[in-house]
Amino acid sequence: MSFLEYAPAPESTSVLNLRDQYGLFIDGEFVDGRGTPFQTISPATEARIATIANANEADVDLAVAAARRAYDRTWSRMSGRDRGKYLFRIARLVQERARELAVAESLDNGKPIKESRDVDVPLVAAWFFYYAGWADKLDHAGLGANPRSLGVAAQVIPWNFPLLMLAWKIAPALAAGNTVVLKPAETTPLTALIFAEILQQADLPAGVVNIITGAGDTGAALVAHEGVDKVAFTGSTGVGRAIARQVAGTDKKVTLELGGKAANIVFDDAPIDQAIEGIVNGIFFNQGHVCCAGSRLLVQENIHDEVVDRLKNRLSTLRLGDPLDKNTDIGAINSREQLDRIRELSDIGEAEGAERWTAPCEIPENGFWFAPTIFTGVQTSSRIARDEIFGPVLSVLTFRTPAEAIAKANNTPYGLSAGIWSDKGSRILAVADQLRAGVIWANTFNRFDPASPFGGYKESGYGREGGRHGLAAYLAPAPVGGQAAITRSSRAAVEAAGSDAAAAAEPKPRRTRAPRTPKATTKGSKR
């Protein structure tokens, strides 16, 4: 037998406790939706997982009204310290239920369990821990003393990192004192609904976070709702543009995190083995469903052949298959629609004259799959060097001088991320300085940390998520003059009155006891 054909090592799904149907999470409870329910399936097998409620405009009304109530009566009046306690509690619950969340994410999204287990879920917890710490320190967020929250935040998130994008949106919004209506992507609602259960477990006051499921029209209704003060969107540039148009002329604040076509620049003095790993991680992580993926490899001409050869050898060791197997490197494409788009763009690449190489791997019969693919001989004018493919497809281009590398890297309508590989520190700094991209990685790629802001230039969107900068998207400076004094005094009054008074201000229908202020332990957090 071959050792490298590792025996199957599937993560057990017995840790999951899924319902057959999920409602909308509004005002702290699951309620039926009024639209036509839809199914969520596993992209690896096309098997049905659960039936998901569909929110229509009336449901959006309800959700926004619940968020407004919670904002006015509870959340905006609660001290930062107490908001922080809830966030810490959520973070701990995410850690406690990490395995369950990882399995659900891989099942619903198709990403390999090693990524959901080692990257997605730990980062989700980290994001809540990080912003929990900010909740009582908003005076230091860079907006002056006593910044105020915005109100109700409408958040629409994509399918590539369903739970992580939820954390990126919800954690800073709640820390800053806003309430939330969030819509997960149509193909990946599962972990958001499990997260709703975690919110119940954490005794988060009803209505502070509402999660409504549905397709694009649900998202459009939410964004357009006049009760919304802030819109945060992560997804395609096309939809982002429509949202920007929709909210233009209103006083809604908007942040958009959109597409990308990142350049990963490899100089001839790069630490070559680590660069190969970085290229692989840059474009084949999460099947390339990453907005900041390093989809354009810019490699110095004199090492082009060596890099491509090494890359092909390395890609031949990647294991494509069951996302729940712990040894899987490449999971399933999230949907048939996305698979069709990847196929279409790859065919265009071939038709335009680029040379296609596909890693030798067996494709499972059912489900949506695309083997890791490299295009060499790609020109800057090729579609596959211009358009975001959002799949495991790498376009290789060459350059001769740093100036040419910079020019080619910047020659894109996007500007989300970039990578530089070189052993020479001064070159890294000089090149990074001239790249127009929101995130630049040096000798690494696709690394995330809650303390580090993330966002784009140009068509990659505006606003920043993560770090202190991420708070600015959910805060406004204190109004000048008397109002500031009032805000300050009301805040002081709340702090003085203590957390119980603030928490008790929220009436809790359908629950016998008032929400407790979370303690510093995980007491009461058992399922």
Binding site: F3, Y6, A7, D273
Partner: protein, 335 residues
């Protein structure tokens, strides 16, 4: 292990280096090798360490680990009796289970070689034939601080006594001060001393003592240097300094071996030694070998574990797999 390998090794080195192996040429060559990014290397090693090896794969892996072990005793207190005990363990690792494979070699100090050879008797030979080799540490192990004459005499004596493999240490002081030519010449001379009168040669493992080289860049350069000078194996450590074999260091050395094979077609072995005590760790090394240089390398002439306590942990795991019960330290023998 052939008589002609010595000549071809030098010719190969000259061809690769493009000149005589003096300090300047070696420096130019070794410092022209791409650098190592420590964070990236450790990240990759950690990634390989998360592979989940279960059921039939685990069974295969446990047996293969035993077949790749250099069962080692390198104590000042070693006696002929201790060596005989070690050899008995090497021949019959698990008396309760005759299907247990034998280890690849026993590794002892030079003066213990005759006792090891004697104790092995008919079991002495090539691990490819199911027999057990004798490896001897030489060249003023573990410090390497002695004159070249003494190192060569040390080596020749062990070979004459019947050692099949010589584990030499490089002069780390010379390496760190940039005297690459000296290190090269010493390795080449020790390789020469490995020759037997009949023209065959003992296999030479070159110990880099990575814990004293400290940086990954140094480890990579020392690996290339040792291979260029004619080493058949590159080995991480003596086991006598605190930082011994680690997964990132071994991965790095495997990458050198892979690149050397691509460049010259020659296969060099790798031996992590010191600090690998559990089956779980050893399996991570097997994964790293298989996914870096390929499964072909998982054979005694291309990969070894230098270990003493690893064997018993593997035996316990093996018993657990066959009986489904956890065993205990009293169900494996001490050596």
């Amino acid at each position: 292990m052939t008589g002609t390998s010595l000549i071809t090794a030098r010719e190969r080195a000259l061809a690769v280096l493009g000149g005589e192996p003096d300090d300047a040429t070696l420096r130019r060559y070794l410092h022209g090798i791409p650098g190592v990014d420590a964070v990236g290397l450790e990240q990759r090693a950690a990634g390989l360490g998360t592979r989940s090896i279960k059921t039939t794969s685990k069974q295969w892996a446990l047996d293969r680990i035993i077949e790749l072990i250099d069962l080692t005793t390198l104590e000042g207190a070693d006696t002929p009796g201790k060596v005989r005990s070690l050899v008995a363990k090497a021949i019959t690792p698990d008396p309760a289970d005759p299907t247990t494979p034998r280890v690849a070699a026993v590794c002892v100090y030079g003066d213990m070689v005759p006792y090891a050879v004697d104790a092995l008797g008919a079991a002495h030979g090539d691990p490819d034939d199911g027999l057990i080799s004798v490896a001897a540490v030489a060249t003023a192990f573990p410090s390497g601080r002695a004159s070249l004459e003494i190192k060569l005499a040390d080596t020749a004596e062990a070979v004459a006594a019947g050692a099949d493999e010589i584990d030499m240490v490089i002069d780390r002081g010379a390496f760190l001060s940039g005297r690459y030519g000296l290190v090269f010449d010493q390795i080449a001379a020790v390789k020469e001393a490995c020759r037997r009168p009949d023209g065959t040669s003992a296999s030479l493992k070159v110990i880099l003592e990575t814990g004293e080289l400290v940086t990954y860049d140094n480890v990579r350069r020392a690996s290339w240097l040792s291979i260029l000078a004619g080493g058949d194996f590159i080995k991480t450590s003596t086991g006598k300094v605190p930082s011994a074999a680690t997964l990132p260091v071994t991965l790095l050395m495997l990458e050198v071996v892979r690149d050397w094979h691509l460049a010259t077609g020659q296969r060099i072995g790798v031996k992590p030694a010191g600090g690998i005590r559990t089956s779980k760790d050893a399996i991570k090394y097997l994964v790293t070998v298989a996914e870096t240089v390929g499964e072909d390398w998982l054979q005694p002439h291309l990969f070894r574990f230098g270990a003493s306590s690893l064997l018993n942990d593997v035996l316990l795991q093996r018993q657990k797999l066959s009986t489904s019960h956890y065993s205990g330290p009293d169900y494996v023998t001490i050596d």
